[in-house]
């Protein structure tokens, strides 16, 4: 669909329209980090500018999976029944491509198997994704190594690029087109010069990433990882500083593991789902007490094999988006690029 240009001066008017119809979240700069923040239509009207927008920053600290795959939610009850409720209609304004890759992984896991997750499906259906280019990748970014770009070309309803005096928006879906239509006259057709400027910015971002991460991984990572399965020295070296805090897994946009636990009250059972981490010692333990991954090293290897071997072999792409959150939060400074780079 044709790109449209929204001048900066008309942005808030359009955002106000969106925020009145949807719950809208945007990336806000708070100190040196970016966090998701809810935009209130009333605040816009009253001239309260709120926190600074961080559309040109790298991804927020929190992966957007939190919006769709809830960190904690009740999924069943017994003997009473529980069915998914209709979730609120949301717009995530300014999603980075690395987070979109996370959703692609979750769609494979939660929607494309034998069983659809109705909670995830309902939230995804009611969520509009407006992607924003990532013009200034940081040293921790490595989406180029996993075959991605610092801008989206699919998986969102609209792709937005910030230009000097406004925004270039390219709707990818009918829903995205509808949102642009809401803005009416505020939008003008994107000019060739604007498109060229966007492409220039994108090219510069790609070049910056290639400078940060110049050496591509072994194209046969999945195979190389399989061959290294029993190379204890290799894995021990990389796992040495891990303190098993599993911050890497909680901040990962692609991790999908969850734990089902029951809250039992007399004869009733409430079944709740929370995010889980495959680094936890009891993660794979069975009822009788046996544990196939009792040693931490096995759990460490399993995490890498899950993302780069099993998922790649089964779905054709890595369950890693190159967002860099895992080593930004890592107390042991384990850089996933280094592990993969040595394969």
């Amino acid at each position: 669909m044709e790109p449209r240009f929204l001048p900066s001066t008309k942005r808030d008017n359009w955002l106000g329209q969106l925020a009145r119809e949807y719950t809208l979240f945007f990336p806000a700069r708070v100190e040196k980090k970016v966090h998701w923040h809810r935009l209130e239509a009333e605040d816009l009207e009253s001239g309260d500018s709120g926190p600074e927008w961080g559309l040109c920053c790298i991804r927020a600290s929190e992966p957007i999976k939190s919006f769709l795959f809830s960190p904690r939610e009740q999924v069943a009850s017994f003997p009473d029944r529980l069915e998914p409720e209709e979730p609120e209609k949301r717009i995530l304004f300014g999603v980075k491509d690395c987070d979109l890759l996370g959703l692609k992984v979750h769609e494979k896991m939660f929607l494309e198997g034998d069983f659809k997750d109705p909670f995830y499906e309902a939230r995804l259906k009611n969520t509009i994704l407006i992607a924003a280019d990532c013009p200034d990748p940081e040293d921790s970014c490595f989406c180029n190594l996993v075959g991605r770009k610092p801008y989206a070309t699919e998986g969102a309803d609209i792709v937005l690029s910030v230009l000097d005096n406004g925004y270039l928006l390219e709707p990818l879906t009918e829903q995205g087109e509808e949102l642009v239509r809401l803005g009416g006259d505020a939008f003008q057709p994107g000019t060739e010069a604007q498109i060229a400027r966007r492409d220039e910015q994108r090219k510069a971002a790609v070049e910056k990433l290639e400078k940060t991460n110049p050496k591509p991984w072994n194209p046969e990572v999945a195979k190389a990882m399989e061959d290294r399965t029993k190379d204890q020295a290799f894995w021990r070296k990389h796992a040495a500083t891990c303190v098993e805090c599993f911050g890497c897994l909680m901040s990962c946009p692609t991790c999908f593991c969850f734990l089902l636990y029951a809250k039992a009250k007399e004869a009733k059972v409430e079944r709740t789902r929370i995010w889980d981490a495959c680094y936890l010692a009891a993660y794979a333990r069975v009822g009788g007490g046996a544990n196939p991954r009792a040693e931490f090293l096995k759990r460490f290897i399993n995490r890498f094999q899950c993302k780069f071997m099993h998922f790649k072999n089964q779905h054709g792409f890595y369950a890693c988006s190159g967002c860099g959150r895992c080593f930004k939060v890592c107390m042991g400074k384990i850089d996933i690029r280094k592990v993969l780079g040595e394969l």
Binding site: F78, D114, F115, D117, L260, V269, R271, G287
Partner: protein
């Protein structure tokens, strides 16, 4: 899969109610529960279900009744941990929750015309019973069914009252062993592999099916392969932490597989490259 009562969206986590019609003790710590689910559970031998125990939570079990008779569901369960202890405190008439079935069935079409060598250990005979009953229901499709079963002592043998009936079925050959015998025991004595000393079928063209404790699975598998059973014809019930049953939560990962989705029965060919698959 269960259908939702509200609209099109199905909630695969929501159990359906099932009443306990009858229970009977097989051994001092193994009990068979006969359940009447509110809706028919369309399971096939090899698949499992998740049982919700009121006041406790959920755990996976494999039905031990025939998939040709689905109005009632039988489960033979050993008391080993918290979930099964809570289950054993329930009485006839109490309600349970059921969701499923999950996982893959035994590919019975691949068994047709062949000799089938089934080896069970302890309570591992429970899921094999569902297979045995499915096979004997259409026994003319198969060349012969060998059932080999080992228990710790004569007292630990499950389905004691049924085994004599099974011995009279046509094309069925049954042999039992116990680790430790007593005065009344006339059968073989020794760990379950004593039942593999003479394998009466043409191993290279037969199918073997194994279920039991991990250590027994390991040594029986070695014995079967040595006897000439092809790796892709040795079907093993793998024990992992199956939690969601939907192939999503990740807990039951076994190499490239989620056993709740790809198993719980996998062939030796599928698991042979996994480091120590029997834990």
């Amino acid at each position: 899969m269960q259908k939702s009562e509200t609209g099109n969206r199905m909630n695969p986590y929501q159990p359906i109610p099932a009443r306990i019609l009858k229970t009977f003790d097989e051994t001092p710590n193994i009990r068979t529960f006969v359940l009447k689910p509110e809706q028919e559970v369309e399971f096939l031998a090899g698949q499992f279900i998740e049982l919700t125990v009121p006041g406790f939570g959920e755990a996976p079990f494999t039905p031990s009744s025939s998939h040709f008779k689905r109005d009632k569901l039988e489960m033979t369960i050993m008391k080993v941990g918290r979930a099964t202890s809570a289950l054993f405190s329930l009485k006839e008439g109490d309600m349970l929750g059921i969701r499923g079935p999950y996982g893959k069935r035994y590919p019975l079409e691949k068994f047709e015309g062949k000799e089938i060598f089934i080896v069970g250990g302890g309570v591992g005979l429970a899921p094999l019973r569902a297979l045995f009953l499915a096979l004997t229901h259409e026994v003319e499709k198969y060349k012969k069914i060998f059932l080999r079963y080992g228990a710790r002592t004569p007292n630990d043998i499950v389905y004691k009252s049924l085994i004599p009936e099974w011995r009279n079925l046509k094309r069925v050959d049954i042999d039992l062993s116990v680790d430790v015998g007593d005065e009344s025991w006339k059968g073989k004595v020794g760990v379950v592999t004593v039942l593999l000393e003479k394998i009466p079928c043409d191993a290279k063209n037969s199918v073997a099916v194994v279920c039991g404790p991990p250590i027994m699975m390991k040594f029986v598998t070695i014995g079967l392969l040595e006897a000439g059973f092809p790796g892709d014809a040795v079907y093993l019930s793998m024990e992992t932490n199956m939690s969601c049953g939907l192939g999503q939560c990740g807990h039951c990962r076994l190499g490239p597989y989620f056993t709740c989705k790809d198993g719980p029965v996998l062939t030796w060919e599928q698991v042979k490259d996994i480091e120590n698959p029997f834990v």
